[in-house]
Amino acid sequence: MKLNIEGLLVYFPYDYIYPEQYSYMLELKRTLDAKGHGVLEMPSGTGKTISLLSLIVAYQRAFPLEVTKLIYCSRTVPEIEKVVEELRKLIEYYCKETGESNNFLALALSSRKNLCIHPEVSALRFGKEVDGRCHSLTASYIRAQRHSDPELPACRFYEEFDAVGRQVPLPPGVYNLDDLKDFGKRKGWCPYYLARYSILHANIVVYSYHYLLDPKIADLVSKELCKKSIVVFDEAHNIDNVCIDAMSVNITRRTLDRCQTNVDTLQTTIEKIKETDTAKLREEYRRLVEGLKNANVARETDVYLSNPVLPDEILKEAVPGSIRTAEHFVGFLRRFLEYLKSRLRVQHVVQESAPQFLKDIFDKVCIDRKPLRFCAERLQSLLRTLEIADIADFSAVTLISNFATLVSTYSQGFTIIIEPFEDRTPTIANPVLHFSCMDPSIAIKPVFQRFQSVVITSGTLSPLDIYPKILDFRPVTVASFTMTLARTCLCPLIVGRGNDQVALSSKFETREDFAVIRNYGNLLLEMSAIVPDGIVAFFVSYMYMENIVASWYEQGILENIQRNKLIFIETQDAAETSMALEKYQEACENGRGAILLSVARGKVSEGIDFVHHFGRAVIMFGVPYVYTQSRILKARLEYLRDQFQIKENDFLTFDAMRHAAQCVGRAIRGKTDYGLMIFADKRYARADKRGKLPRWIQEHISDGSLNLTVDEAVNLSKHFLRQMAQPFRQEDQLGLSLLTFEQLQSEEMLKKISQIAHQT
């Protein structure tokens, strides 16, 4: 279908279009026209990805000088693959319609672990090992050594790529990870470096958030992407947490011990080199004195470690004299390490700011701020000079040096918390130093500054105004889209009371209350009797789930439930969970029916979709607040209050509701899908909680479904399920929630569409 979006010709690869997709494209085009940033919320399962892609590709073709590149960031590898598949469809459609051969280059980029084709290296299990081995085969000094000693092992794929791969650009087309690997195998080129090299001239790049947000990686991979790019963050409801994680450091006693061995190794290596090859050290020393930037020295394979601070914060200066020679730097590291050890020896919790820390470190071990700032860079240079092949071993000392650089660079937005033991086990000493970032805007600021348009989009971004606030940017469009439905296929119910009128709530005071637990059990039991196929139940935490399941077992509720459906439980072990999921799906497939008990904020709640019969009902037991006693959270809340005028409670509720919305949103993955959404906590009925749900869920909560008892909920659900079980054909949808090209042309429809976008 060819669409006309405010004068822009957009090829849309399907014969039908949802009205909200049209509306979404309108808003997106306005954002791009204004060269500004946008926040767009659209329900999952309404074809967000394809709308985004087809509009931006059309825009790129229409204005090749204004927009040169699309950078599409997603969270996980399966999601990246999904995007690439949609893109492939789109490009094929273009070729068919225009009759030209494709000249677009689109590719996915992932870590070495997913792209390596070296027979030995790719067999390793962990990403870190793969990176380390790859580095030990391809680092420039190792390749230089090979000139004198050809016996040394090499990666023939990289050598081949280095020899010829750069001259020949990747032919246009759409490449997912497997395509890249195939191409690499065919040509004998390393797919990872090929992909990293090709993103510079590709039209569309699909990769993970971290390649843009984590300064340690972004500096390496995304440094040269041009300003005229459009950046899209998909599934961005957790983007603030990603930003914070990218800038935070946790140091335990074990890290320090490993760091100690690292430093010892460094010292012995230096001594060895001093005996054999002093020229090398002298060369490094000369470079540091001159203050040459290592950019012209480093080659792509060498920059294994990168500076943890953001590009514009890095000092353009020579390394201070006190850490210029290798021995002095090792001594410096030793002092810093001993200081950290002494700090970890505390008996009570300490919280302090970065300036306080710096003052203390000067008083105790005479370390100035400036050498600290250069620590990461200096370590990088040293490791390169010492030609240490297996850098994976040096992760501990790298971490420490990153911490040093961060703590001395940023005086605001960070806090240091030293806890001598975990809250749950006060008798077991396990000291941890948390250097935690409290301001997500620090990590994302360069992205907003550098690229002309940044689009943040997800199924659940409500309330929309909070994201611009906590990420500190000015969007030009902020819009939320509803789902147009031919039949109301989602049914949110708020169950506030049990049949015995006991208020249902997961609040702290009633956690142990048997009446509440029993009523929750009854709710699940009754639902298991009437809902076909799969039910997914979410609890607020693992601990809470364990408690409840244990007492259901004692009360015999579990046994009764198992007469209706099988029960599977998510655990913290990833392997166990994926096993449980597999079996759950099998039970749904063969008609036995199953219940999956899982946890909000867990793996299941974030990435797994329960389409059609895999999830006919989602029950959310309680409001998934974060653990509010954590000191890191408290510090962050305080910071939000002082800097952004966001009240603690507002943020906590916002955070809880976005996770609740994520959980219940798992069940509806399209318009033909249907599902119950049961919120089992009386607090959901309050306006401040309800108002923070996404609009497409909120719309369907009527006053009648606010404070139901279990019986009432069961009756409503029965009615709903009976209605939904009727056959539903495409003709029913046509003209209402699904449009053909002709229908899209009518005045009336266009007017209706303009109401879909809800501006705030």
């Binding site: 006693r253 004195v289 200066e317 020579a318 390394v319 201070p320 004299g321 006190s322 850490i323 210029r324 020679t325 021995e327 002095h328 001594g331 030793r334 002092r335 001993e338 200081y339 050890k341 002494s342 020896r345 008996q347 700011s353 300036p355 306080q356 710096l358 003052k359 000067f362 105790k364 071990v365 005479c366 100035d368 701020r369 400036k370 005086s411 000493a429 000291p431 002082d642 005028q645």
Partner: protein, 308 residues
């Protein structure tokens, strides 16, 4: 945690020639130095009890190094602005580091000490002067700390005030309701409804106030109040001053007459005179003529170049 179970260890602070470095537990120190001083068991150097202190770090060499470093830094206390450039400052820093390194690892102790003494003698005044002042970085840190403290204090006061104000407002409101119930003729339900509306209004009002109150610890210029302005001399840059030299172009041709002389010599006789419109923009026929003559004359003596 291991550290906390260890006995308290003491280390000696005197810098000595031999590679002997004394660590003792508390009891030994008490025993050995009953009279306040005694000799080292290993190298016979006289030691004093009050030179012993508690070991802070797990690695005693670090303890020793820090001790030495503090002593050295008392003497080598030049600041960045005592140097003409960053390069010199960095070289100086390395020198300091070398001294500390030598003293800790007992390399060439004699000479190092001599050098230190010599430096001390040469720079006595500067050392005295710098003793009193902090480095710029330390100043910045102090400033940040001060700001932080002020911010915390301010916040605490704000919260207290806010709470007080809310409490007062609520109390007043309640009292007003009671008074009205007592005096008014209206039915109680209406009064209660009115009260409810008023209470809601009060809430929103408080909210608004909260958001408008902004801290005012900035001058209008954006400088923080009570900020200590560091008065550093501007970095000295030593360069050769720029001297103007008139432009000299070798034309390899006969001398071109000056612009003013063109008319007199007769060059302008056959040139179109400037129209009044042309002269408005500053054009005169001499200009065009001068260029044409320059053009014609240059390069007429090619042999001159060959000669040179």
């Amino acid at each position: 945690m291991r550290a906390s179970f260890r006995p308290r260890l003491f280390i000696d602070r005197t810098i000595r020639k031999q590679s002997c470095f004394v660590i003792r537990c508390e009891n030994c120190v008490e025993m050995l130095f009953v009279r306040g001083s005694g000799n080292c068991v290993q190298c016979d150097t006289p030691l004093r009890k009050n030179n012993f202190r508690v070991q802070l770090f797990e690695d005693p060499t670090v303890d020793k190094e820090v001790e030495i470093r503090k002593k050295v830094l008392k003497i080598f206390n030049k600041r960045e602005f005592d140097f003409s450039g960053l390069r010199e400052y960095n070289d100086y820093l390395e020198l300091v580091e070398d001294t500390v390194y030598n003293l800790t690892n007992n390399l060439d102790v004699e000479n190092t000490k001599l050098r230190m003494e010599q430096y001390q003698r040469e720079n006595r005044d500067l050392i005295q002067k710098n003793k009193a002042t902090l480095t710029r970085e330390q100043e910045e840190l102090e400033e940040l700390l001060l700001l932080e403290q002020q911010g915390n204090e301010q916040r605490r006061l704000d919260v207290l005030q806010e709470e007080q104000r809310q409490l007062n407002a609520k109390r007043k409101n309640k009292q007003a309701l009671l008074d009205e119930l007592e005096k008014s003729q209206l039915p109680a339900t209406i009064l209660l409804a009115q009260h409810k509306v008023r209470a809601a209004q009060l809430e929103t009002q408080i909210e608004h106030q909260k958001q408008t109150v902004k801290p005012t610890n900035l001058f209008s210029t954006g400088i923080h109040m009570r900020q200590t302005v560091s008065l550093l001399p501007a970095p000295k840059i030593e360069e050769v001053l720029y001297r103007y030299q008139p432009l000299h172009v070798e034309t390899y041709g006969p001398q071109v007459p000056e612009l003013e002389q063109l008319g007199r010599v007769g060059y302008l006789n056959h040139v179109r005179a400037a129209m009044p419109q042309d002269t408005a923009g500053g054009y005169s026929s001499a200009l065009a003529c001068h260029r044409a003559v320059q053009d014609a004359f240059s390069g007429l003596f090619p042999f001159k170049r060959m000669n040179s």
